[in-house]
Symmetry: C2
Subunit: 417 residues, 2 copies
Amino acid sequence: MTSLTEIGQLAKEAEVTVRNLSTNMKNQALAATARILTEHAEQILQANEVDIRIAKENHMKEGLVDRLLLTKERIEAMAEGLQQIIALDDPVGEVLQMKQRPNGLMIGQKRVPLGVIGIIYESRPNVTADAFGLCFKTGNAVILRGGSDAIHSNMAIVRLIRQALQQCQLPEDAIQLIEDTSRETAAALMKLNQYVDVLIPRGGAGLIRTVVENSTVPVIETGTGNCHIYVDETADLDMAVRIVVNAKTQRIGVCNACESLIVHETIVQEFMPRLAQAIKENGKPVEIRGDEKVRNALLDAVEAAEEDWGREYLDYILSAKTVPDIETAIAHINCYNTGHSESIVTSDYQNAQKFLNEIDAAAVYVNASTRFTDGFEFGFGAEIGISTQKLHARGPMGLLALTTTKYIIYGNGQIRE
Amino acid sequence: MTSLTEIGQLAKEAEVTVRNLSTNMKNQALAATARILTEHAEQILQANEVDIRIAKENHMKEGLVDRLLLTKERIEAMAEGLQQIIALDDPVGEVLQMKQRPNGLMIGQKRVPLGVIGIIYESRPNVTADAFGLCFKTGNAVILRGGSDAIHSNMAIVRLIRQALQQCQLPEDAIQLIEDTSRETAAALMKLNQYVDVLIPRGGAGLIRTVVENSTVPVIETGTGNCHIYVDETADLDMAVRIVVNAKTQRIGVCNACESLIVHETIVQEFMPRLAQAIKENGKPVEIRGDEKVRNALLDAVEAAEEDWGREYLDYILSAKTVPDIETAIAHINCYNTGHSESIVTSDYQNAQKFLNEIDAAAVYVNASTRFTDGFEFGFGAEIGISTQKLHARGPMGLLALTTTKYIIYGNGQIRE
């Protein structure tokens, strides 16, 4: 097995080639990758079956098994993601804002690759192809450290991608998977400053905290999502029901699912039974953990504990709290949220604007499901993760988040007086 | 003395007010600050005299004393810096790229303040006013932790700024100085994640390394500068002499000063004596530490050790190395540089483009002095530091580097299919 230092060296070497490839060359390699993933989907599905079997033997929770599961459709979605990346403009090489200074210096800002990107992630094997596509299109090499749960799926996907690169006479080390999924290799990757320019953790709160606290490589923190929907007293209740049911149940294992409902107390008696009815008709039962007013409105709601307000369930569970006004709703959300996605359902102009202005999160919605916080839905062609930090990138990260800039300055002998 | 936790709390409270101020209010406060700093310059100069006296008693190096020294002119430059910030557009509130998605969602990216910014810096007391001006204009609160060398100067400047804020009925805690300059308070600030959104270290290599390695608060790494000038075989040698003399001697205590000269071996015999002559006429003697070919061309050059290639002298010392071709020059620079500023002097089109493309640094120059890497010279109105990292901001950082964005999304009931 290749050592981590070797992996770092190989990535740096590959990166020198990859950063100088033309957009055409990069697109050809991505097309070859999409083709080979689709043609050999069976190899991936077989590997994924092993992962799923082990997961079920280990009694993995349903939301997590859903994250891990690959189907023919999801593999096609991977290939489609790569096609979308091909169709996107290559941001590398663009010169922004070149201006002439009074002394005649021409100063421009040129977009360049970050270099070598490390990604530490958990269950979802579709991350593997997405991450490669985005990193490669932007001229970066990538070192992947997936979770042990998905190791068979990841190895199958990476093997196919490397075959595609080889077919194109490109350095296959532009993508490398760390096959040793022990904690030690993850810890070592976090200190690999000599070779790794940025580290992106994707997964649960525990993983992300570990990386943020232990990495000396610069980190982009990505998101756990305790996403809220606030149903204002002026809300269209039919719309609110549709949005909450969608945000809670459309896919439970994802970070942009709704975990917490806030309801204005004047409408709680009318709203909660309608929500419960819609959930029933939807066929996916949801446990509602509510405060006293919620429980009065909905007798089969269970009592919420203080800790429920801060939880990301990734399950068919929803906490529900009543508030006397929008100020309380905003204060509650800004206290308990994880800086991911928050939505208000309202018909009131001032409340819509107030919510947009005062909520501190990566994505703030009016009258829409939180499930849209996603690189595809935002039109980026794919996403490398959803940043919940404020530096460098915030929200869904597409191609631009994987680049940096350098200033290029054309002079004709200028010196500083 | 206020505890660090209290300082953090006060900053967070002030920030809620500051982030919502109109541009007009912020500009009025900055104008009041500029006025009060100029009117009471004498208070700052008296405090600075104490710092300078102590520095000289402690045999501080000349380059560092220069960084510490304030004069009436430098205080006027501080006030002028604030006036330039007033004149700049306020980036906060701008909505970038609002687009309608196929499902009708309107998705825009809104520029918002970072929050509370911590700055850990060393000698230069003019940083105090600059940092406040830039952080305040962008709606942030700032916690300053200056060095013990400049503590009297910094206390005088911060006292005056807080007076200005008070006069404008604004929260004076939008700027706070940590008066305890022990290592312990700096270490505690690096872990103050609850209150501090980003930490910017400004100072020597040791300080920056300490912050990068110990901070759990996200860091923007700013720059030590081992800046190179490569004199190509096709260079206009008169221009090259002017640029090297300027970059080395115009101000030695700054990170964009030239520390290392690379000369094509075919011109070294002609170039070095002309450079030495110009340095002599300039009246500021420079010790040149060269390789063998440099010493053959310039008999009073001393022998360079391997470690000289990587040093930031901040002094009248210049390392000098010969190379057989531009590839060797680029490889040498990419190996030893600190990612700050590098310049080529050349008349060759291909070499100019090659240098711009292949050098990995925040600012890459053709035919100009490295001394221009600076927020004022780049037209940002001021600077909060020069980032030598690749995330978030690279190169001189002005207003934009002190903001983040959030996505705001206007819907009318959209749910995800």
